[in-house]
Structures are given as C-alpha cells and as structure tokens.
C-alpha cells in the first residue's frame, strides 16, 4: 500500500516521515528499557534511563507541535501500521 504524501505538502510530509520514524525508534528504545528494567537494573540506572527516554519523547512532541506535524505523523503511522498489518496477514494466512 503506498504512503500518500501530497505534493504541495512535500516538506511537511518528509519531515513528518522523519519524525514518525524517530518516534518509532524511541518506542523501541522504551520497550528495550522496560525489558532491561525487569532484568534487574539498579534503581539509579532505571531512573536515569527513564529520564533520558522521557526527554526524547518530550522533544519529539515539541518538534511535532512547533512544526504543526501532529496530524501528518499520525497519518504516516496509521499507513505504516496498515502496511505491517497486511504484511503480517500475508505471513500468517498466505492462502488468502
């Protein structure tokens, strides 16, 4: 499924795509941090890790707000979700 980016909003689309990807990477980092936290990280390390990741998310939110990218990031992420859903469906039900 193609990701739709309007030509006259190319800048917004491109920047939105970059921010969407950064957001996804930040979420992966957060998942890894949760895993490490449950693997027995010290309380100080958990706090430091949590603070750092919290700040990454705050910065992403700030950029989205300043650049008016909230909607385009949402659309891009929904489209990416759709692509992944389709891909997983094909893997799970190859005959359909």
């Amino acid at each position: 499924m193609p990701i739709k980016i309007e030509e006259d909003k190319l800048k917004e689309g491109l920047l939105g795509l970059v921010v969407a990807l950064v957001e996804i990477i930040a979420e992966v980092l957060k998942l890894q941090a949760i895993r490490r936290m449950n693997d027995g990280l010290s309380p100080e390390s958990i706090e430091r890790l949590g603070q750092n990741i919290f700040e990454i998310f705050q910065t992403i939110e700030q950029i989205k707000k300043e650049q008016g990218l909230e909607e385009s990031v949402n659309i891009i992420r929904e489209n990416l979700d759709g692509v992944i859903d389709e891909f997983l469906d094909t893997l799970v039900n190859p005959e359909e």
Binding site: A33, I34, M37, I46, R48, G50, F54
Partner: protein, 264 residues
Amino acid sequence: MPNEIDSKLSGRYIYGIIPSVTGFQTTGIDGNPVYLIFYRDIAALVHSCHPKAYQSSNREQVENWLRQHQNVLDEALKHTNSLIPMSFDGIIDGSSISDPDDILKQWLQERYILIKDLLEQLSGCVEYGIKIYCSNEMLTAKVTKENPEIVGLNDRLMSMSKGTAFLFQSELSQKIRKAVAAECQILGNEIIAKIRQVVIDLKENKLDKEVSCSQRAILNLAVLANQDKAEIIGDLLENLQTSGHYNVVFTGPWPAYNFVKDLN
C-alpha cells in the same frame, strides 16, 4: 423496459445456484434479464454478457451493481428455500463453444453431487451478520480493577520518581493493552458459546479496525441459522445490548455467502 436475452453474447454472469423452479423471472445487473440454465434438478441463475468483468472506479455504480446482484438472490429466495449464492462478478467465458449455456451445464454436471449436498445443507437456512463492540472505558476499568498485576503496578506508581514512573507507566499501559485484548477474547468466547446454541454454524470473520476511540470490536460473526430462528437470535443479542456493556449490530437475512464451499 428490461433488455432482451442476447444468448449470442459469450459470457454468463452467475448469481447463484438453486433447485430447479419454474416461473422465475427477474432482471439483474444493468437491467439484464436473468434466466435459468438447468442441469437435472438444479439450475444456475445467469444473465448473458460480454466475458468481461464489471469494473468501475465509480463507487456509486459498483454499489448499484452489488445491490442488483443481491436483488436477484432475494427474488430467487421467494421461489425456493435453498440457494448457493455466488460472489459479485463471477463470469464464465463460453466463447470457445457455439452455445455458451453448454459450458455452464457442463460446470453444473461436474459439480452436481457437491452442489446437491450443499443445497440440502442450506435448505431453509439463511445467514446473519453479528458485530459486537464493547466500550474501551469499561474494558480498561475492568482490567485495572481486577488484574492483580496491574493493580500492584498502579499502587507502586504513586511513590516513584519521574524517570522510573515514566518507564513503569509505559509498562502498565502495555499490560493494560494485553489484558484488555485477553478480556475481549474471554467475553467473545462467552458470547459465541451462547450463540452456538441457537445456530447451525458460525464463522468468525476479521475484526473491524479501531472503530472509534470509545469502542472496540470484539466479534465479527457470520452465522448460519434456520429462517425461523431470527427472533431467538435477536432476543439473545438484545439482552447483550441492554446489559449496557455492548453495542450490537445485527444484519440479515443474507444468502449464505460465508458457508458456501469453494465450488471450483
């Protein structure tokens, strides 16, 4: 004024298969007259067309075709209580022989026993669609209150410093999401068990994607039931709806599309 049957056209659009009946007359897609092609005691509902798929980028046009396809099946059900519906746009190309009807007769002949069995199974039965949605708020409240792991995490969260609380809060959201999905599965299975008691067959279809922020789809079912069971199913679903936890969408009766085996 309906079009006339042009048997010289080499395509045959198939609406469905029924036990042989007499006096069936209706018009189908684009006003084409629908007629029956018989083999022994079964018949295919068809119209003559070019062997070319009905395709259009105009949504209204496609919806119109689908409605006309459905109308033919509804009309057929007035003449018989058993029907094997075919999906939209099933066209057989008979351009290789002089009488295209013969290719369909041969198709019926090759599948005669399968078709007869299926017609018998579907006799007196119709399909209903049942979609059930549940309030996200209710589900989240339920798991937040009842799941001991989530209750424990929630309690610990109060006394944590910012960075730690951020990670714990994220973990908590993950656990709530998983617990809600598991809860939906349990509720869905409970409902399925009740519905199974009043239907002949049941098929679970893919759930709708997120319907709205407040609603979550928990079931999308096609059920095969005797025509006289509509009220019983309706009552059962009404009880779910009036419990206040669910939104129910009940549609039909439809031809039994979801319960037709692949005839090819």
